[in-house]
């Protein structure tokens, strides 16, 4: 596919691309898109630390399929913005070796779906090296994920649960521009392999104030995106925006907890929110069975059972591939109406 960055249904278009660096306001913040924030974080880390470099398909001169590294080759040279052959295991494998030798590689999978072709290196080599041999592997694998624009079964997946189940990998999934930058910076500085899921539907749809300069959003810390007392929606990535919209539309006292990191999970924040509201809806765009939502639901029922006022519910995609045709895709991916209905049901329980 040539352009999957088309705005998702119902979203608003925000101008600007990664190459254009927005100017800071008086508070030292800049307004930028989620996509620009990813670029900004990567660019600043590359300026700050010469051991940081990028590798992936079409990321150099072309600037990447989604233009996250647009302009990078000019600034940093093609040796630090390395165009690779179409070979995901070779990309991840090379990143592992370079990381062991003191570099901090950031791999781009052109689509998160293609990590299946690099799965072996990531899961069997990167994830296990420290446990087996005490060798740290500080790599980041950027995974443009998610559907909503007819990408079909191979350009729309949300594969985070594969990696949450693979010991030794950290997994993050930012929902806001500020977190997109801060989590990427933390991921680059972390001494472990980090899967960084960037939702394609948020690239230009989400825009926000992003602090100027150096800051980190710590891995493993969730964020309360909306305070509430009556129920909690525990979610991440695109789910955060659906939940916020639903809460506003329903005008109910709903708390939205943005997990931000999926491994390690912020169990404290999850349990605190569950105990506070007594009702938990876990929501994600990824498929249902043995997903991150199942893990959160199990945690809440194991540890906060006494505080619950209703069943822990899930809103997810069903266990099917993501279909291509818009009505089919919309039937599979959780929509705003689905979120509102799930919240209404749990509030009424």
């Amino acid at each position: 596919m040539t352009d999957t960055t088309t705005t998702p249904p119902g979203s608003r278009e925000v101008a600007g691309d990664a190459a254009t660096e927005p100017q800071p306001d008086r508070n030292g913040k800049r307004e930028m898109t989620y996509l620009q924030a990813i670029s900004d974080g990567l660019r600043e880390e590359m300026r700050r630390d010469e051991s940081v470099f990028c590798l992936g398909e079409d990321i150099g001169v072309f600037g990447g399929a989604f233009k996250v590294t647009d302009g990078f080759a000019e600034e940093f040279g093609i040796d630090r913005v390395l165009d690779t052959p179409l070979a995901e295991n070779a990309i991840v494998g090379a990143a592992i070796g370079a990381a062991v030798e003191g570099m901090k590689p950031v791999c781009e999978m052109q689509f998160a779906d293609f990590i299946s072709c690099g799965f072996d290196q990531l899961v069997n080599v990167a994830g296990k090296l420290h446990y087996r041999q005490g060798v740290a592997v500080p790599i980041v694998v950027r995974l443009p994920s998610g559907g909503g624009f007819s990408g079909g079964p191979f350009h729309s997946q949300n594969p985070e649960a594969w990696f949450v189940q693979a010991p030794g990998l950290k997994v993050v999934a930012p929902a806001t521009a500020e977190d997109a930058k801060g989590l990427l910076v933390s991921a680059i500085r972390d001494p472990n392999p980090v899967c960084y899921l960037e939702h394609k539907g948020l690239y230009r749809y989400v825009k926000g104030e992003v602090p100027e300069g150096d800051y980190e959003v710590p891995l493993g810390e969730a964020r309360v995106a909306r305070e509430g007392e009556e129920m909690s929606v525990i979610t991440y990535g695109s789910g955060v925006h659906l939940a916020l919209q639903a809460a506003d539309a329903l005008d109910e006292d709903i708390e939205v907890l943005d997990l931000r990191t999926l491994n390690p999970l912020d169990t404290e924040a999850i349990l605190a929110s569950a105990r506070k509201t007594g009702k938990v809806l876990v929501a994600h765009e990824a498929t249902r069975s043995a997903g991150v939502g199942a893990e959160v639901a199990a945690l809440v029922t194991e540890e906060a059972f006494e505080d619950l006022d209703g069943p822990v519910r899930r809103l997810t995609a069903p266990d099917v591939p993501i279909p291509f045709s818009p009505p089919l895709e919309q039937a599979v991916l959780p929509q705003l109406e689905d979120m509102k209905e799930a919240c209404r049901e749990l509030l009424a329980y």
């Binding site: 051991s51 470099f53 040796d79 630090r80 390395l82 690779t84 052959p85 070979a87 295991n89 070779a90 991840v92 494998g93 090379a94 990143a95 592992i96 070796g97 370079a98 990381a99 062991v100 030798e101 003191g102 570099m103 590689p105 072996d120 290196q121 069997n124 080599v125 296990k128 090296l129 420290h130 446990y131 087996r132 041999q133 005490g134 060798v135 740290a136 592997v137 500080p138 010991p167 030794g168 950290k170 001494p191 472990n192």
Partner: protein, 379 residues
């Protein structure tokens, strides 16, 4: 199938292409080097024989894997490396671990799942690499480590350091798609790396003719680098091919694929009776034992006495006895550690490996870049 038997027979190196070959200096093996090469091969054989005994005594969980008959390959190739070069060592290559400084007690302890094994019981058999000696240990999936070794070489190239990576794989793993990915990546980026292909005739039970239609070494030039075939049972031939390849890599000439033709003289693992190996084939290769051949050559061509050779063998036997006792004294790991160490708290540089080749003792042959890795990581 194209073969280069002529080249193999006389132990000479055959160059498929001369791409990137600069001025390759003359070999320089001193008497002490030859003694070392012999000693490491004998040590590998003796350590593996002792490991097999421990396995038969029920002291080794799982199975047991060795490189009997292939000792010349890992010893001859690893011997060319400088301290700051890096390795991914595979399961028939115990000699490379010994050359770089792993002691046999830690190898035997690793097989027995003991606390003092190289991985402390986290992984078994040959799945280890001592990070303090410049090695990243293998995984079972083959040839994954070739792709990781590429990354180490890429780091050296990006930083302009005169260092190289070396790794091994069997002919069996050349059938896997990752092998193509790895060779192509190395060729495209002209990485400072040496690939040692051990053709030991069988991938478990599958013979060469069912593994490939064209000898994998012939593919090297299609990736844009040199392919060489040597007699894998001739330690000096392996050394020489590796030396040339290492110098090429270090001077910017890119990768080399060295096919070492040999024969795995034991089963894939101790559970394998090798019923699939034709008897004549086994007999034929038995006559080419790399250790016996080198012993004859040391006496016949290099001025060693038979007594010298025997003294080395006896010395190694005694050393392995000592190492086996030490390994057996090592405790089993604390079960509490089973959940420790999944994540790293901080990155640490690999340490340097031993570099016993006399060349590295010379002034100016440090094998180090202008800036050390530790200095860079601190900066």
């Amino acid at each position: 199938m194209k073969r280069s038997d002529g080249a193999v027979a006389n132990g000479r190196v055959r160059e498929d292409t001369d791409a990137g070959v600069g001025e390759i200096s003359e070999p320089a093996l001193t008497r002490a080097d030859r003694e070392n090469l012999f000693r490491y091969m004998v040590m590998m054989r003796a350590a593996e024989e002792r490991g097999l005994t421990l396995y038969k005594q029920g002291k080794v969980p799982g199975s047991f894997y060795d490189g009997c008959g292939q000792e010349a390959i890992s010893v001859g190739s690893a011997y060319v490396l400088g301290p700051q070069d890096r390795m991914c060592i595979l399961h028939r290559d115990l000699g490379a671990h010994f050359v770089r400084g792993v002691t046999p007690d830690r190898y035997l302890a690793n097989y027995m799942g003991r606390a003092d094994g190289v991985t402390g019981g986290k992984d078994g058999n040959m799945h280890f690499g001592d990070r303090k000696l410049g090695a990243v240990g293998m995984v079972s999936m083959l040839p994954d480590m070739a792709l990781v070794a590429n990354g180490m070489a890429l780091a050296f190239k990006m930083r302009g350091e005169p260092r190289i990576a070396m790794t091994y794989f069997g002919e069996g793993s050349t059938a896997n798609g990752q092998w193509h990915e790895g060779m192509n990546f190395a060729g495209v980026h002209r990485l400072p790396i040496v690939f040692i292909l051990e053709n030991n005739q069988f991938a478990y039970s599958t013979p060469n003719e069912l593994e490939f239609a064209v000898d994998p070494v012939e593919r090297a030039h299609t990736y844009g680098f040199s392919g060489v075939t040597v007699d894998g049972n001739d330690v000096e031939a392996v050394f020489e091919a590796s030396r040339v390849a290492a110098e090429r890599a270090r001077s910017g000439g890119g990768p080399t694929l060295i096919e070492c033709r040999t024969m795995r003289m034991h089963g894939h693992g101790a559970h394998d009776d090798m019923s699939y190996v034709p008897k004549e084939m086994f007999e034929e290769w038995s006559q080419r034992d790399p250790i016996d051949r080198y012993a004859e050559r040391l006496v016949g061509e290099h001025g060693f006495d038979s007594d010298d050779v025997e003294a080395i063998r006896a010395d190694v036997r005694a050393y392995i006895d000592e190492c086996a006792s030490k390994a057996l004294e090592s405790p089993m790991p604390d079960p509490e550690l089973a959940t420790a160490g999944v994540f790293a708290e901080q990155w640490e540089a690999l340490g340097d490996g031993n570099a016993p080749w006399s060349y590295w003792a010379d002034e100016g042959h440090t094998g180090n870049g202008s800036t050390s890795v530790s200095e860079r990581s601190a900066a």
